[in-house]
């Protein structure tokens, strides 16, 4: 803390890259990657354009760094919840969706996935990174959660892989309608009610067939 002999006007240098990334997410999310200039990011982060290149070798590296930074926590939280569960998957699904809603509904955490979606085509490295670090870990986990649910007779005999789409899809659609097109239900982007309605249908739909 006080070991530095002349700390008076020292800037916390290690924090800089993060500040730059913060500025970048904000601007990329608001205007898109292509429409955001390095100059804008630099000003937003409180330094000069040239200094950005001290921390990141190119504009695209910003995007990558950005995604990388945001991605690990989400996936980790998700996986740890599902990984080793045995039994009726429905309670875990409820927990899982509520956690995601909690994460995304609150803050600018939504910005990164949105960004990935938009830039995935022009920047396949980004899509790949997201796939590697999030999707290819979370989807198989969900898939095997469902598989053991089917095998244990806890739920109807559905295709575990495809059912993952039925679990996550309505939430994705809800967010996309709201975020991209500004279409919200009459009482606003109410994630709780969406999930409640969704789970009512989903859980009834997953109920094992009573009469064999």
């Amino acid at each position: 803390m006080t070991s530095d002999p002349k700390p008076k006007f020292r800037r916390r240098a290690e924090a800089r890259p993060d500040e730059v990334l913060d500025a970048a997410v904000a601007l990329f999310a608001a205007q898109g990657y292509a429409a955001t200039s390095v100059e804008q990011i630099a000003r937003h982060a409180g330094l000069s354009k040239g200094s950005v290149y001290l921390y990141f070798p190119s504009k695209k590296a910003l995007l990558e760094g950005l995604v990388h930074r945001a991605v690990a926590p989400i996936a980790d939280a998700a996986i740890s919840m599902i990984a080793t569960y045995r039994g009726d998957p429905r309670p875990v699904i409820r927990q899982f969706l509520n956690m995601i809603a909690g994460k995304l509904g609150s803050e600018a955490a939504l910005a990164v996935p949105k960004l990935v979606l938009r830039e995935a085509v022009s920047a396949p490295e980004i899509a790949q990174m997201y796939r590697d670090e999030v999707l290819d870990r979370a989807i198989p986990a969900l898939t095997s959660l469902m598989r053991q649910g089917v095998e244990g007779g806890h739920i109807r005999k559905v295709d575990p892989e495809l059912t993952v789409r039925s679990i996550m899809g309505p939430l994705l659609m809800h967010l996309m309608l709201a975020e991209v097109f500004g279409i919200e239900p009459s009482d606003g982007l109410n994630l709780e009610r969406l999930i409640e309605n969704h789970l009512t249908i989903l859980f009834a739909g997953l109920e094992p067939e009573t009469n064999p």
Copy 2:
């Protein structure tokens, strides 16, 4: 294969705008709007850069023209199917999803919605156009289809507005995983099986509650 390699005759004026749009979809879809130059589009369509401006006043007008051309047919088909139906909505939903799958699963028809999704942030006019011409016509139609289904006792007492997300979401998610991240189930982008699995759950989930 199916298109003239180098058309001998110039001056087929009426066909040109469409050819330009064809080139534009292809390139926009492959590289994104911002990363595609007008020059590229022109060469792809077999004309000079300047000639593109004979048919479209700006690059953005290409995007708009593109979306406009692709959008009306989809929405029209959808609406006409749903509009005046009375009774258990489930058969119509099956028809509806199959139609959409037929339209999107086949060709480059998917390119335009994908494009809209990506450019929506930087080009809000595009998002607005899509909303006006597709979403704001299709979603209310679906919503009231569900509403009368609930009121007629044909399905469980769900929120009609939110249930629309449960109907369409899984399809959206399936396409997005495949198209954006290259994630497909073990037997490929099999839209029929996806829909079948989805509808099994959905229809069981919508079954009116038997007791009380």
Copy 3:
């Protein structure tokens, strides 16, 4: 008149070049040469862009044709008035200025001289043409009018060449203030009053010195 066997829908072809020039003056005057496109001129004249090139080999040829057409009459009228006069030049000067004011004050005749002034730098051929056909005929004529006036003792012993500037300059300045900067005297661009005031001073100033 009736010699043509099928004159029904015949356009008076010989009039076309003039119509094109009419359109060109109007637009060049309003927007400048560089800011006016051949397309605009063509539309204004009621034909297609390509057809303009039937009558004029290039855009610059339009400007030249324009000036040429407007120039001869002005100079001719001026010269014929001055050429052979002997005696006190003052009555001729009055006549001359009134004629010019009549020509310029009325119509779009001002447009061409204004155009020449503006484009003279970038298009020296234009300046040269104007010089050849107007200035180098009118100025020497005025100069010798003044010279014989001095030599005959009708006016003060002034420099005939420089006095031409004193005769024409105030009118030029008046028009330029009005046309370029929108600065007009309190009662509008009143050419008669301007000339009256100007001539009062000029003629008194030219009065031969009474003493010796």
Copy 4:
């Protein structure tokens, strides 16, 4: 001769805008605004095209900056000379014209007014700027100089407003003939002799009428 051939040191930031403007006047004067490209200006000033935009946000801003830089000094000098004078205006007029001749006869100072004249039509902001900063200050000053001369009986009863045209016009015409059309008197653009001849006539013409 008087400027560094190839400056060894980059980064003389404060001088650059002025250098760019210098290059711009030269080229605009020689070729006109529209016919001069930013690239030309940049090369002339020894920088790259992109660098010009470091100092000026647009090509038009160059023109404006140019005019602005040249305009204030002229007007200031003029006004300060005339403003509060009482009595026979003729001595002040002589001083005033000599000062203007001194300013314009020497250097490239003429380039800017010429430029204003030419671009006034296509760039009304420029005309307006010149009007605001020069004409609307100098002309009223001259007008009231004349008015008090008339009222004090120092000069003939002329219209003060219109007489301003008689004072300045011959000089304007002399410069225009020379600069635009290359027409000069036999002994060159001799501003002193022009002014002498002009004032002889003007002052005699302004002499109060002797016999009432």
